[in-house]
């Protein structure tokens, strides 16, 4: 992607060419919105967040080292914007079985029984439930678990994306899991090992 975008980046950096900026927005939008959707709670305005990502992108593009992949740089920037947005959100201390709607309870039971396949509807319910479970965590804990479990990223990839060390990622993941265990103790008790 870098090679294709090189001339556009140069045109923006050197001449502030608006046509190049428009083209960059069109090319990079899917990557930005995928990350935003994965990391934000449903109901948060993804378009506003994407707008903030692009504002920062053009603001900081002069600092971008063209030898490195733009995807990584952009992902890191997008994750930072998501993290900041999540910082302002209040979170519930725990999620109990009785907090779940009947549909959510059914989805959870289905997930525990046959999780390998799911209809689009079940998948959507599962995503919402996962979102509720993760909303009991702080932004960094949520980020690390989303990257690990939902996006299935390797620890080294997460380290590159977040700027944390590999050990740092492992420690954060360990602590995040411990906090989640505490927050979901009531739900987990329904499904003993």
């Amino acid at each position: 992607m870098n090679e294709d975008l090189g001339p556009l980046i140069t045109a923006w950096r050197e001449h502030r060419a608006e046509a190049a900026a428009r083209e960059l927005v069109h090319v990079l939008y899917p990557q930005v919105i995928r990350i935003v959707r994965n990391h934000l709670s449903r109901g948060m305005d993804e378009e506003d967040l994407a707008q903030e990502v692009f504002r920062r992108l053009f603001d900081q593009l002069h600092r971008y080292d063209a030898k490195l992949p733009l995807e990584n740089w952009l992902s890191r920037l997008t994750l930072n914007v998501c993290r900041n947005a999540l910082r302002g959100r209040s979170r519930r201390p725990e999620l109990r079985w009785t907090d779940l709607s009947e549909t959510e309870q059914t989805t959870l039971e289905a997930a525990m029984l046959s999780p390998d396949t799911a209809t689009a509807g079940q998948a959507r319910e599962a995503r919402e439930l996962l979102d509720r479970a993760l909303s009991t965590l702080g932004p960094d804990d949520r980020l690390v678990l989303t990257l690990l479990h939902l996006e299935e990223k390797a620890v080294s990839e997460i380290a590159a994306l977040t700027g944390w060390s590999v050990t740092g990622v492992r420690v954060r993941a360990f602590r995040a899991r411990r906090r989640l265990r505490k927050a979901l103790a009531d739900l987990a008790a329904r499904f003993p090992e």
Partner: protein, 93 residues
């Protein structure tokens, strides 16, 4: 594996089956970004200009004061002496 982790992993596996909703750039999105950049540029330019304009204005004020001070006529000794003598004479009378 602890049951909470199993629960999260199973939910995540299910959630990954969700078909991706189509991604299209919303109408007017790129225009909003570009106009925001334009406004930002104008703001940056104003921020660059304001302190410099203040410094230049200050310099002009100082120069004007200096010029005024320089161009004030030096007190004329003869006039001063004449006024002094006249005053003394009036007082004596």
């Amino acid at each position: 594996m602890h049951s909470t982790e199993k629960l999260i992993q199973k939910l995540a596996r299910m959630a990954r089956c969700e078909p991706e909703s189509p991604i299209t750039v919303p109408p007017g999105f790129a225009t909003r970004i570009v106009s925001g950049l334009r406004e930002g540029d104008a703001r940056d330019w104003t921020l660059w200009l304001l302190p410099r304009a203040a410094v230049v204005a200050g310099l002009i004020c100082l120069l004007a004061l200096g010029y005024r001070h320089e161009s004030k006529p030096a007190p004329n000794f003869q006039d001063f002496a004449a006024t002094y003598v006249q005053n003394e004479l009036e007082r004596g009378l």
